[in-house]
């Protein structure tokens, strides 16, 4: 079915004939429709046109997924459509990943992420991981049903900038507080930016459990993570200047 649709798309639109802007907009549409083939083709065309891999990723793929995220939030798209879109983005990313590594694209920071203990839902968490990775973060994904002990071990081992926690169940989301309280007890809380997300969460809950921020969706998670990293660098730079003077 998807292949037929892809073929029709190919027949209808000659991607190579499009201008850069038209092609990028077409790729947003193809991502929206979850079409892998045109995304692969569009990615290759932009690279042939000497686009930087990082620009292809951010301007075509991540921006496309941001649009998907908005329509998911507004109830226009549902989980299967988002998964198809994510699959298409993943296909494009597979081309870009080795190139990004070669070109030394900026690493924005390191994130340890996982779905909390008692919860095995990972669609949202996987989407967030993919988007963050695409945006230039290094991701250490602990998977699902992650205990406080596992989070702590990973934090110690990987020394990330950010800890990301996800939950889909009302019954499991309080576990985020268990993790954050344990970090406080061990005087580790201020060493990490803590971001939380998941369908039943909200801003109030994020504050109540002591997270730095609640992220409504994957695109917001990327922006929030970038924003916190900027602030972190500014604080470091400020501290550096202060000690120099």
């Amino acid at each position: 079915m998807t292949e037929d649709k892809d073929k029709n798309q190919d027949e209808d639109i000659d991607l190579k004939a499009l201008s850069d802007q038209e092609l990028v907009e077409q790729m947003w549409d193809d991502l929206y429709d979850g079409l892998q083939e045109p995304i692969l083709e569009g990615t290759n065309i932009l690279l042939e046109r000497k686009w930087l891999p990082y620009d292809v990723l951010t301007k075509a793929l991540i921006e496309g997924m941001r649009i998907v995220g908005i329509d998911f939030r507004d109830g226009i798209l549902f989980v299967p459509e988002v998964l198809m879109s994510a699959g298409a983005m993943k296909a494009g990313m597979a081309i870009l990943k080795p190139l990004l590594a070669e070109t030394g694209a900026p690493s924005l920071g390191k994130i340890v992420i996982g779905t909390v203990k008692g919860d095995i839902h990972d669609i949202g968490k996987n989407l967030v991981s993919m988007m963050l990775e695409g945006a230039g973060f290094e991701i250490i994904d602990l998977g699902v049903n992650v205990s406080v002990e596992t989070y702590l071990e990973a934090l110690e081992k990987h020394q990330p900038d950010i800890l990301g926690m996800s939950a889909l169940l009302t019954t499991t989301m309080p576990y985020m507080k268990v993790v954050i309280d344990t970090l406080k007890e061990k005087n580790l809380r201020d060493d990490y930016i803590v971001l939380v997300g998941g369908a039943p969460l909200n801003e109030e809950f994020g504050k109540a459990v002591g997270a730095d921020s609640y992220c409504r969706d994957a695109a917001v998670a990327v922006e929030t993570a970038k924003d916190f990293m900027k602030r972190k660098h500014n604080i470091k730079a400020g501290a550096g200047k202060a000690s120099a003077s």
């Binding site: 989980v79 998964l83 198809m84 669609i123 049903n145 369908a199 809950f205």
Partner: protein, 201 residues
């Protein structure tokens, strides 16, 4: 005046459509004639964030016509927002995070989830409508390869059976087959739902 006092109170139950059949069965079994029922569409579970506002609208529309209103929803993925609305409206709901919990019994369900969170639960309603709600609802008919992404972390299906029905057991078996997971059937009857309805009526 004395006759009025003897009249049973008029109670409205605002419920999830997924529970309508069970409520009506209990009402008939227990003779709870004064219990009136209105339902919201079960498909609201696909957008749980909409549930609190829809329940509030129902409460406000009915408040002047009933002596007492109760709500038959679990938290159902609203992240506590349904309880915030109910506190504001002064309306009580059945306890628990969702219907699996009050069918299985809260403590038993908690123990089950603690010991193994990798089980996917079916009720009579979900067994009956699995193909439409879950299989087609999650696009598995069109995109079978999504099954691993959606259900790859599950290790089994538990059918919490409210009624004894060979037909529903077969439906649950078919559901488990579609997910390629082993099935366990657990007879719960109506669990905590029946005593809740008796108490409020």
């Amino acid at each position: 005046m004395q006759e009025d006092e003897k009249k049973p109170r008029k109670v409205l139950l605002i419920a999830c459509g997924a529970l309508a059949r069970e409520i009506l069965a209990i009402r008939e079994q227990k003779g709870l004639e004064n219990l009136h029922v209105t339902c919201l569409p079960a498909k609201l579970h696909n957008r749980p964030a909409l549930i609190p506002a829809r329940v509030r609208a129902k409460i406000r529309a009915a408040k002047s016509c009933y002596d007492k209103i109760f709500v038959l929803y679990g938290d159902c993925g609203t992240g506590g927002m349904l309880d915030v609305v109910l506190r504001e409206e002064g309306v009580e709901r059945i306890g628990g995070p969702h219907c699996y919990a009050f069918f299985a019994g809260q403590e038993r369900f908690e123990r089950m989830m603690e010991s193994d969170p990798t089980r996917f639960f079916l009720t009579d309603y979900l067994a009956r409508h699995f193909r439409t709600l879950i299989y087609e609802g999650y696009g598995l008919d069109r995109h079978p390869h999504l099954r691993d992404l959606l259900f790859g972390n599950y290790r089994g299906v538990v059918y919490l059976a409210q009624t004894e029905s060979e037909e529903l057991v077969r439906a649950a078996e078919r559901a488990a087959e579609m997910l390629e997971l082993p099935l366990e059937v657990m007879r719960t009857d109506y669990g905590e739902l029946a005593p809740f309805l008796e108490r409020i009526a």
